[in-house]
């Protein structure tokens, strides 16, 4: 048991901390947020150059030999800087899909192109009638000869306007809630039949609704096995949960620090407001929640890094998401309250941290969803993810 970083990991941490300090001052970030794509292609190229786009994948999966620990280090720093670049949707979600679902040379070439920064990918699973349930899929994939013909709609696909290729989930068999019949597939952005509705999210990122109408892709685009994609989806989601948790921890830490600074500097009634016990105790609760979130993030990260059995891994990541969401809400709301009026101001940075941590709370499943998944896994310890949609237990 060891909580310390290796020397390689310490180097990564130093370099990502430096990147955030140099490139994500508030004014710099505002410029990036206001740009068309909502992130900086220049920064993305730098991520590639520094190896961050491939660092978290084991070598036999086409990466540079790291693990979820490296993802955690990067994502935490990105949280601290409110970094806009689509690291989680592209590298963690779509990248995991390719690294663990890739079956051909074309797939590993695409992963390589993603790692080199040449291709940008994203991942879409949510639908109008599924909420967070990744096994509840109505988007149809009909096998037609050597093609898959896709019809349906995916919601809130992150940075889809900028992505070259989408990784999406479709149903190629079974009823809409069955564990069987789920397929993960690559769809190039220019494939005929795709309509995109782009929008800027409430936390200043970019997302799209993607509508697929008889979109024809070759079966060779299928990641993993046709109709047997649920375990792959679970792995993708869990990898994403780990990264989101680290991002939330990064946000919590900086929000706590800035709030405490504010309490020390802001004067009312002739004294620093940080001398008031009611405010002190609220700040302490922020610290407690930040530490709980950080601790459970280690737990979830190790479940990923050590390749725990699927049911254990899912339980660990659901626990992680429940805790970081609950903690994040307390930290975010307290930060606004302790800042008073200035916390409500769009010009001031605290509100932006609050918005991001609030959206993290929802992404890839909220507290209720993951409590339900956790309890279902507890009840059915023997059920492997491949033979039952645990989310429906």
């Amino acid at each position: 048991m060891d909580f310390t970083l290796s020397s390689d990991q310490t180097l990564i941490k130093d370099s990502v901390d430096r990147f955030v300090a140099d490139n994500y001052e508030q004014a710099q970030r505002e410029k990036i947020v206001a740009s068309d794509e909502g992130f900086s292609r220049e920064h993305w190229a730098k991520f590639a150059e520094l190896g961050w786009l491939g660092i978290a994948f084991p070598e036999d999966r086409g990466g540079f030999g790291g693990s979820a620990v490296e993802t955690m280090i990067l994502a935490e720093a990105f949280g601290r800087g409110l970094v806009q670049e689509p690291f989680v949707p592209c590298v963690v979600l779509a990248g995991t899909a390719l690294a663990y679902g890739g079956t051909s040379k074309a797939h590993s070439d695409l992963l390589e192109a993603m790692i080199s920064g040449e291709k940008l990918l994203t991942f879409g699973y949510a639908e109008e009638r599924s909420r967070y349930d990744y096994a509840l899929i109505e988007t149809q994939g009909r096998v037609d000869g050597s093609d898959l013909v896709i019809s349906g709609k995916k919601l809130a696909v992150p940075f889809a306007a900028s992505a070259d290729t989408y990784v999406i989930t479709v149903r190629t068999g079974g009823a809409k809630q069955d564990a069987d019949g789920i397929t993960v597939v690559l769809v190039d952005r220019d494939t005929p039949g795709i309509t995109r509705h782009d929008y800027r999210t409430v936390d200043d990122r970019r997302a799209s609704t993607l509508t697929f109408e008889n979109v024809r892709v070759p079966l060779a685009n299928v990641l993993g096995e046709l109709g047997k994609g649920l375990p792959l989806v679970e792995r993708i989601i869990d990898a994403g949960l780990g990264a989101l948790a680290a991002e939330a921890v990064g946000i919590s830490g900086i929000v706590l620090r800035r709030t405490v600074e504010y309490l020390k500097n802001r004067k009312q009634f002739g004294v620093a407001i940080g001398t008031f016990q009611a405010l002190q105790h609220r700040a302490v609760d922020m610290l407690i929640q930040t530490e709980l979130a950080r601790s459970i993030t280690f737990y979830g990260t190790m479940a990923l890094a050590q390749d725990a059995a699927p049911a254990e891994r899912m339980k660990a990541l659901s626990a992680t998401k429940v805790q970081i969401s609950r903690s994040g809400r307390i930290v975010g709301e307290s930060a606004i309250q302790l800042h008073g009026g200035i916390g409500m101001s769009e010009e001031y940075v605290i509100g932006h941290f609050f918005k991001r941590i609030s959206m993290i709370e929802l992404e890839l499943g909220d507290v209720d969803f993951h409590l339900r998944r956790y309890v279902a896994l507890e009840k059915q310890p023997a059920a492997s993810s491949a033979n039952g949609a645990l989310t429906h237990a």
Partner: protein, 413 residues
């Protein structure tokens, strides 16, 4: 819980501590230093502890523990003898005084197994509270005399800190120890003293000097309770418990050699002790055990053919507590890891105390709710456990005081 994945360990083990750790294979990063899995040696140690408890813990003590019934002094002492014979009574002490040279992880495993195996909680007053003070600040004579007597259970210690007018504001204590030649004469009243009725020794904070600053002039004294002038009076608590007492000192004459360290420096030693105490009060392993009890209670409750554990809302409320407890257990491991690299338990022990006690309270709250009308029956003990654990956010420095400590010492407010 996922017992089938825990290397053949019985189902009560918290599965989340055991990721099925594969041999370093192609999927394992060569760069991964951070590693929260247990080594094969640690797992073997866990088996050893578990086997010991299973073989040595008397059946009647186990039964009482499972039912939440108070143990007698004889119950505690017989178990302490077993641990002492094995050399496991004081794992945290330096080996030369009869401790162990276990790693932080082993100590953690030991505590966890003790709680999960239904062993009596370790009485902290001697082993975990006064002994570290004696080891750190006491004289050679004190170490030679008291430490073996703690190990052999010849001495049962209790804590003379709080007074009727000195609770959270402990430094305002008024008990005085006036010098008279080679003796101190102690007068005053101490209160909220757990199991003083079993104790023959008490460590006392007493004022040896009236000073401007109230933290100064306090000394740390080791007092034999059979000394004339010491009176113990029970205080019955709202759960019907007879665990706590007040102890009154009337012209109690003790030799100056019973003082630990320097005269007037007692506050420093008292704080040192409190930081050790706090880590113990989090009761993380005990809470995992309490969750098992809660689940057992809920499985016995039937509504319309189903058990309460099948109730989604109840199961989720239980899960939510378990998740927070899991987070806390990793926080505690982080703190222990920091301690093992040479840091004393610092103000972060306050955070662990706050969260640990809030979780204990949350579990017993659910226990009372789960028991429905059974709660009314004192024999079922579930409402009593709820009443009893209200104390946890008060003792060892109330949770509000802990928040003050964090605000000042960690946040710098």
């Amino acid at each position: 819980m996922l017992p089938h994945r825990t290397r053949g360990l019985p189902p009560q083990a918290p599965a989340h501590f055991f990721f099925r750790s594969k041999a370093p294979g192609p999927h394992t990063s060569k760069n991964t230093r951070m590693d929260l899995s247990f080594s094969p040696e640690d797992l073997a140690f866990r088996e050893e502890v578990r086997a010991f408890i299973k073989a040595e813990l008397p059946v009647d003590v186990r039964t009482k523990m499972e039912a939440g019934i108070e143990l007698t002094k004889a119950d505690y002492v017989s178990w302490q003898h077993k641990l002492c014979a094995k050399g496991w009574l004081a794992p945290n002490w330096p080996k030369k005084y009869g401790g162990t040279d276990w790693t932080v992880v082993q100590k953690h495993i030991f505590n966890e197994e003790m709680a999960l195996g239904g062993a009596p909680r370790q009485m902290p007053f001697g082993v975990a509270m006064v002994a570290p003070v004696i080891i750190e600040f006491g004289s050679d004579e004190q170490r030679a005399h008291y430490l073996p007597r703690i190990l052999s259970s010849d001495d049962w210690w209790c804590q003379g800190y709080s007074e009727p007018e000195a609770g959270s504001d402990l430094a305002s204590l008024k008990t005085r120890a006036d010098r008279d030649g080679d003796n101190y004469i102690i007068n005053g009243q101490k209160t909220w003293i757990t199991l003083a009725q079993y104790a023959n020794m008490i460590f006392v904070l007493a004022r040896t000097e009236q000073t401007a600053k109230k933290q100064d002039g306090i000394s740390f004294l080791l007092v034999d309770m059979t000394t004339p002038g010491v009176t113990v009076r029970p205080i019955v608590t709202i759960d019907g418990g007879k665990e706590i007492n007040e102890v009154i000192f009337e012209n109690v004459r003790v030799p100056v050699s019973s003082r630990v360290g320097k005269e007037g420096e007692g506050w420093t030693y008292a704080k040192f002790l409190l930081e050790h105490e706090r880590n113990g009060t989090a009761g993380v392993a005990g809470s995992f055990q309490l969750l098992n009890r809660l689940r057992a209670v809920a499985r016995d409750q039937r509504v319309d053919g189903k058990t309460l554990m099948d109730d989604e809302r109840f199961a989720e409320r239980t899960a939510q507590i378990e998740i927070e407890l899991t987070a806390l257990s990793y926080a505690q491991l982080r703190s222990l890891a920091a301690e093992s690299s040479g840091n004393r338990p610092g103000p972060e022990s306050s955070f662990i105390k706050i969260t640990g006690t809030e979780i204990q309270q949350a579990i017993t709250t659910l226990m009372m709710e789960a028991s429905a009308y059974d709660s009314l029956d004192p024999a079922k003990r579930s409402a009593l456990a709820y009443f009893n654990t209200r104390k946890t956010s008060i003792y060892a420095g109330s949770n509000e005081i802990q928040r003050n400590i964090i605000a000042k010492r960690i946040l710098g407010l």
